[in-house]
Symmetry: C3
Subunit: 208 residues, 3 copies
């Protein structure tokens, strides 16, 4: 086969793909948590593990970025992409941890719905990042449009779920606070997915 040099960019690309896969892994663990809520501790640990690995990957990408002169994309795009991907995992872990710490008895149906949307967003992001890192920009915009749609859906569900919760009357106000905080973290996770999509769209437009 002969000798082949792996160019710097290729390593960079594979680091990105790993970060995207790890993000998806964390979101899938959150999905397992809400659908197997009798094992909430176990799945919370899985989300935590993904979040921890994400921290390490983020740190490595940023460190590499600061020491690399030639990069495939604009420096600020890489920075935004990496830190927003990391934010998704931080928020997923924030949700998982709050289910445990706040002694939530059962996730609400709307929480499960939003996490399903997050799972779909994570898959779209992973595919779009894989294409970007192979310099195939053709269908990236479609993935990004889909992620924007999923975020809009999540936003609507959260807003109405929180309103219903508050309008219900007779609920323990502290319980309302706990659930509201979990909803808001889920919404922010969907927002960060959209932020990553916006960066990817920018990268695709600049390269087209």
């Amino acid at each position: 086969m002969g000798f082949r040099l792996i160019p710097k960019e290729e390593k960079f690309f594979s680091m990105f793909e790993q970060a995207a896969q790890n993000m998806e892994r964390g979101v899938l663990a959150l999905k397992s948590l809400v659908t197997n809520f009798d094992q909430v501790q176990r799945y919370a640990s899985e989300v935590k593990a993904a979040e921890h690995d994400g921290d390490t990957q983020t740190h490595e990408i940023i460190a590499k970025l600061d020491k690399t002169f030639v990069t495939p994309f604009d420096r600020e795009d890489i920075h935004a992409l990496t830190s927003k991907l990391d934010d998704i995992l931080d928020l997923a872990w924030g949700v998982a941890d709050r289910f445990v710490l706040y002694q939530i008895e059962q996730p609400t149906p709307q929480m499960v719905e939003i996490i399903d949307l997050l799972v779909r967003s994570a898959a779209e992001l992973r595919k779009a990042i894989s294409k970007a890192t192979h310099l195939k920009y053709d269908n990236i915009i479609e993935h990004c449009v889909e992620i924007n749609n999923l975020e809009n859906q999540a936003d609507q569900i959260v807003r109405h779920a929180v309103a219903d919760l508050m309008n219900a009357g007779g609920k323990d106000p502290v319980e309302v606070m706990k659930l509201k905080e979990i909803y808001e973290h889920l919404e922010r996770a969907a927002d960060r997915c959209e932020d990553v999509a916006n960066v990817l769209e920018s990268i695709a437009l600049k390269s087209s």
Copy 2:
């Protein structure tokens, strides 16, 4: 009159002016909402329409930016300006929607006061953006200083209104939560106005 080429920058400029006018339109619809609260649904739809148009404009500006090599201002300034303008409308719509969804009986006098400050900020922003897009940087700083003052006033009103609400005692805690959330969204809208002003100030300083 003869034939005249419209340079790329001029189109860019007019897109900015439109986005600023649309932002002001959304803030004015929010003002109509609180002063004609019996027609809350109608004015909420008007805020929503402005927010929706703002999304389209933002998307067009960013897409144009990513495909344009020469731009009038620094690329990152345009990006910040556009996305922060859009945030103001998102927050105005968030407030309008919560008045409806949370079944608020009546906006508080302090909410009307803060929205009056937002109306004044929006007018200052629209004027400053119009000057910047005509490359007349002379009085931009004055507009920015005024927007900073308006934000400080809004911040003070919000902080004291929330404290009074919480210190009152005997209120339904969930009702406190609802009003507090609306106050916090109004404060964030004022913050985003200040963010836009800071970008404009930067543009003016770089060009002077």
Copy 3:
């Protein structure tokens, strides 16, 4: 000794050192506030004074940055460093003000603990900024790692303190809201310390 020109960069550097010292002063005043809570008004005024001076310094640094072509570090790093330093003071003042406005009877032991961590973070930041402004990058990473550790500790304390507060039962829900908001502001202050550390780490890596 003879005549010596002070280069532009040196002025820039000393402005940074002053901003870092002023930030530490604000955090120390917040520490005095919680340990001398019978003089809460007096120490709140001290935090406010630091916040006010910080605003002036931030404005001066940004204005100088916009008019300076050659700067010691990347323009966007200076911008991020300055505005995040300012955020720490805004949040410290937000906490001090809320102790007064929300008529808090006594800070909780966990609040004192977190403020102790903030004091340590502020000292690390001040040292790291002093080194960076003397172009001595050798041990900056160590300071940054320590600030990250301190943020992780603060995050853990806040999350458990808020959970304990909400799980306690029988508490006045509005009182829970007040304390929760103070905890969340303290956590955000620790987050902003970490943000500053991340920028410093970037600067150090780029220069090594």
